[in-house]
C-alpha cells in the first residue's frame, strides 16, 4: 500500500528531510510525504496543464487541512479572477482570505507602463512578500508565474540576480514554496528557473494521444529523498487535482475468506463454497447477447439486497437503459438507486484516456466506498487504448480494488465464438474467478451455456450449465448429455419429455411385475398354509398315540398299586422296600 510505504519511509527520513504534505490526492504518495519543507519547488509545464490549480490547491489544502496559512502571489491572474476560477472546485478564497488563512497578492507588471531609467532591484516584491508572510504567519508560498517578471522588465542581469536572492529569501523565511514556470523549448522552463530551484522539480504535461487528452505529472528531481519516477496521470475535476500513483504495486494485500452469493442460486451451487470470495475479482466473458450484463446486474442486485453498497460502471449503456432492461427480467435496480445503495457511473470510453478513466474510477470508488463494483464491459475500453494499455490499466484497477477489499465483476465481450483460453484483454490471469458464457447452437436454435473456467481457492463444478434468462430472473439448468453431445433448449426439453415417457412406461412395467410377484406370493402362502395344516394334523395323530400310551401306562400303574395294597395288608416295611426295589428294576 503506497500510503503505508509513505508513512514508514517518511518516518525513516524525517531527520533528513522534513516534508510538507500537499493535501493533493496521490501527490503525497508519489513524493513520499510531500514537498520539501522550507524549500522552493518548481512546478513547470506548458499552458493549460494545471500549474496554477496545483499550486493554489497546495495553498488551500494547507490552510484548510494542515492549518498552515499560505500566500499566493499571482503574476497572471487577479485575486478575484482566481477566486472565480476555483469557485467551481469548492474553494472559497474570499472566505479563507477573510479568515486570514490565505493571502492573495496580485502583482501586475505591464511593460507599456514601465520605463526603465537605470539600476533597480525587486525589493518591492520582497517587501510585499515579507509583509504578506508575516501578516498571516504563512508557512506556504506560491509564486505564479514568476517568469512574468521577464516580460515586464528587460534587464535580465538584474532579474536573474534578484531571482537568486528571492529563492534564498524564501529559504531564509523557512516557507515551503511552489514556483510555477512555463515550459520552454528545450529547457524545463523558458527562463531556466530550474537553475535556481534545485530541490524539487515537478513537470506537468498535457498530451493528446488519439484525440484524447491526458494530463500527466512527473517528478523530475527531488533531491535527498525517494520518489516515484514515472509519469502519473492526473485528473482535474470538481474536487481539484487527483494524481494516481499507478505503478506502486505490490502483492501483499490482505485476503478475506468471506463468501457471498452471486445472485444466481444455481451458480452458487456450482462453487464449493457457495459463492465468491469477498474482495475477489470475477470476470464474465461471452459473445454478444449472452447475458453478461444481466449476470453483472444480478450480482449487483444481490449485493444491494444484502445491504451492501454497489457501484456500477457502465461503459456501454446508460443507467436508465440498464434499469429498464433489468426490470424485464424481474430485477428492480431502481429501488436500490433510490435507497442509495446502488450508484451508476456511466461514461463513454472515449470521454477520457484510459488513465483518466482509471483516475475517475478511483475517485468515484473512494468517494462512494462500495463493497461491490461492476465494470460493464471492459472490452469497450479497447476503443481508447491498445490491448496492453487496457491490460496494464486493469491490473492497476484490480490491484486497487483488492487492496480496498472490494469485490469486482468485469464483463468482457469475446469477439470470436471460438472459446479462447485468453480473453481479448489478457486479464484472465489476473482474475480470481472466470465465468464463461458461450452460445450453443443446435437444431436451429441458440442457447446459452455457462461454465466456470476457473475459481481460485475453491472447488467448482466442471459442468456446462444451460443459462436461462426468464421473466423471473436468471437460472442455470443442467444440460443433457445426449448421444450427440450436449443438449440444450428445446432439444433438452425433448429429451426430458422422452425420458419422462420412458419413466411412465417403466413405472407401468414395474407395476405389472409387482402384481405378479404378489400373486405368486399369495399362491405360495396358501400352499404353505395347507402344508402347515397337514403337518398339524399328523402331529396331532402322533401326539394322540403318545398320550394314549402315557394314559395307559398310568392307569396300569394305578391298578398295580391298588392290587399290591390289596394283597399285602400285613407285610412288613422290608417287603415294601423290596417292592420298591422291584419297581425300580422294572423301570
Amino acid at each position: 500500500m503506497p500510503s503505508k510505504k509513505a508513512s514508514s519511509t517518511s518516518k525513516q527520513l524525517s531527520h533528513e528531510l522534513p516534508k510538507t504534505p500537499t493535501g493533493i490526492i496521490g501527490l503525497d504518495e508519489i513524493t513520499v510525504g510531500g514537498l520539501p519543507t522550507g524549500r522552493p519547488t518548481l512546478v513547470c509545464g506548458s499552458a493549460g496543464c494545471g500549474k496554477t490549480l496545483l499550486s493554489l490547491e497546495f495553498i488551500v489544502r494547507g490552510a484548510q487541512e494542515y492549518n498552515e496559512p499560505g500566500v499566493f502571489i499571482a503574476f497572471e491572474e487577479k485575486a478575484d479572477e482566481l477566486a472565480t476560477n476555483v469557485a467551481s472546485l469548492g474553494f472559497d478564497l474570499q472566505k479563507l482570505q477573510d479568515q486570514k488563512k490565505i493571502k492573495i497578492d496580485y502583482i501586475h507588471i505591464d511593460r507599456s507602463e514601465i520605463e526603465e531609467t537605470g539600476e533597480y532591484d525587486l525589493e518591492g516584491l520582497f517587501i510585499r512578500l515579507n509583509y504578506a508572510i508575516d501578516s498571516i504567519g504563512a508557512k506556504r508560498v506560491v509564486l505564479d508565474t514568476i517568469e512574468n517578471l521577464f516580460s515586464g522588465l528587460t534587464n535580465q542581469a538584474i532579474l536573474r540576480a534578484e531571482l537568486r536572492r528571492l529563492f534564498q529569501f524564501l529559504k531564509d523565511k523557512g516557507v515551503t514554496a511552489i514556483i510555477t514556470g512555463e515550459r520552454g523549448e528545450k529547457t524545463l522552463t523558458r527562463q531556466g528557473l530550474e537553475e535556481y530551484v534545485s530541490d524539487c522539480v515537478i513537470l506537468l504535461d498535457h498530451r493528446i494521444i488519439n484525440q484524447i487528452s491526458t494530463r500527466r505529472l512527473r517528478i523530475v528531481k527531488y533531491r535527498g529523498t525517494l520518489h516515484g519516477t514515472n509519469e502519473y496521470p492526473f485528473l482535474i475535476d470538481e474536487d481539484g487535482i487527483s494524481v494516481l500513483p499507478v505503478t506502486s504495486l505490490k502483492l501483499n494485500k490482505a485476503v478475506s475468506s468471506d463468501r457471498f452469493s452471486s445472485g444466481i442460486p444455481a451458480l452458487d451451487k456450482m462453487l464449493s463454497k457457495g459463492g465468491f470470495y469477498r474482495g475477489s475479482s470475477i470476470l464474465v466473458s461471452g459473445t454478444a447477447g449472452t447475458g453478461k450484463t444481466s449476470v453483472a446486474a444480478s450480482f449487483c442486485n444481490e449485493a444491494c439486497n444484502r445491504g451492501e453498497k454497489c457501484m456500477f460502471f457502465a461503459f456501454e449503456e446508460s443507467p436508465a437503459q440498464i434499469i429498464r432492461n433489468m426490470r424485464s427480467i424481474g430485477m428492480d435496480l431502481q429501488q436500490h438507486v433510490d435507497s442509495g445503495l446502488l450508484q451508476f457511473y456511466a461514461s463513454r470510453p472515449t470521454l477520457y484516456g484510459l488513465e483518466m478513466h482509471l483516475v475517475a474510477i478511483h475517485k468515484a470508488i473512494r468517494r462512494f466506498k462500495p463493497q461491490v463494483v461492476v465494470l460493464d464491459p471492459i472490452t469497450n475500453l479497447i476503443t481508447v487504448g491498445s490491448v496492453s494499455d487496457v491490460k496494464s490499466m486493469l491490473v492497476r484497477l484490480i490491484d486497487f480494488l483488492q487492496e480496498e477489499q472490494i469485490t469486482v465483476m468485469f464483463t468482457a465481450l469475446s469477439l470470436n465464438t471460438v472459446v479462447n483460453e485468453q480473453t481479448d484483454e489478457g486479464v484472465s490471469s489476473l482474475v480470481d474467478a472466470w465465468l464463461m458464457i458461450r452460445d450453443i447452437e443446435m437444431n436451429g436454435e441458440r442457447n446459452r451455456g455457462l461454465y466456470i473456467m476457473k475459481s481460485r481457492g475453491m472447488k467448482h463444478s466442471n459442468q456446462v450449465r444451460e443459462f436461462v434468462i426468464s421473466d423471473n430472473g436468471l437460472d442455470l439448468i443442467d444440460v443433457y448429455l445426449g448421444p450427440d453431445g450436449i443438449l440444450t433448449g428445446s432439444a433438452r426439453e425433448a429429451q426430458m419429455l422422452l425420458e419422462e415417457t420412458g419413466q411412465v412406461l417403466q413405472t407401468h412395467a414395474v407395476g405389472v411385475k409387482d402384481r405378479e410377484l404378489l400373486r405368486k406370493r399369495k399362491v405360495l402362502e396358501s400352499k404353505i398354509e395347507s402344508l402347515r395344516s397337514e403337518f398339524e394334523s399328523t402331529e396331532e395323530e402322533l401326539n394322540k398315540a403318545y398320550v394314549e400310551n402315557a394314559i395307559k401306562k398310568e392307569v396300569l400303574e394305578q391298578n398295580r398299586q391298588k392290587l399290591t395294597t390289596l394283597r399285602g395288608k400285613n407285610i412288613s416295611d422290608a417287603d415294601s422296600e423290596d417292592e420298591i426295589k422291584k419297581t425300580k428294576k422294572k423301570k
Binding site: 497578492d105 507588471i109 514601465i114 520605463e115 531609467t117 539600476e119 525587486l122 518591492g124 517587501i127 510585499r128
Partner: protein, 103 residues
C-alpha cells in the same frame, strides 16, 4: 511646490500639476541616487509644477501593495494621465523625461 490641483488646465500642459510618488528602499545606494537624480530633473523641467511624495517602501508595505510596486526605486506618475511607472535610479535622464511625458 504648487499645490492647488483644482486649477489644472488640461489644455495647457504648462499649467498641469504633476503628482508623483517615489518609492525607495531606505537609504540604499540606488534609492539615494534616484532621489537626487529625480530632484535634479524635476527642478530643471517641472519647477513648481509637481508634487513629489517620497515613500520608504520598508515603512509602508501596505502602500507598496496597493500601488503594485515590484521593482524599486520606482516613480509613479499618477497625474497627469496616463499612469506611468519609472523604474530605476533615474540616471537615464532621457528616459525619465519620456516617462514623464516631457519629451
Amino acid at each position: 511646490m504648487v499645490t492647488d490641483g483644482d486649477s489644472t488646465d488640461w489644455g495647457e500642459s504648462e499649467e498641469m500639476i504633476y503628482k508623483l510618488r517615489l518609492f525607495v528602499t531606505g537609504a540604499s545606494p540606488a534609492s539615494v541616487r534616484a532621489i537626487n537624480n529625480l530632484q535634479n530633473i524635476l527642478e530643471q523641467h517641472l519647477k513648481d509644477r509637481y508634487e513629489l511624495e517620497i515613500i520608504d517602501a520598508y515603512q509602508q508595505p501596505l502602500l507598496v501593495k496597493s500601488e503594485d510596486v515590484t521593482a524599486v526605486p520606482v516613480l509613479i506618475k499618477k497625474e497627469p494621465t496616463p499612469l506611468r511607472k519609472l523604474v530605476g535610479d533615474m540616471s537615464d535622464t532621457d528616459k525619465v523625461l519620456r516617462g514623464l511625458g516631457l519629451l
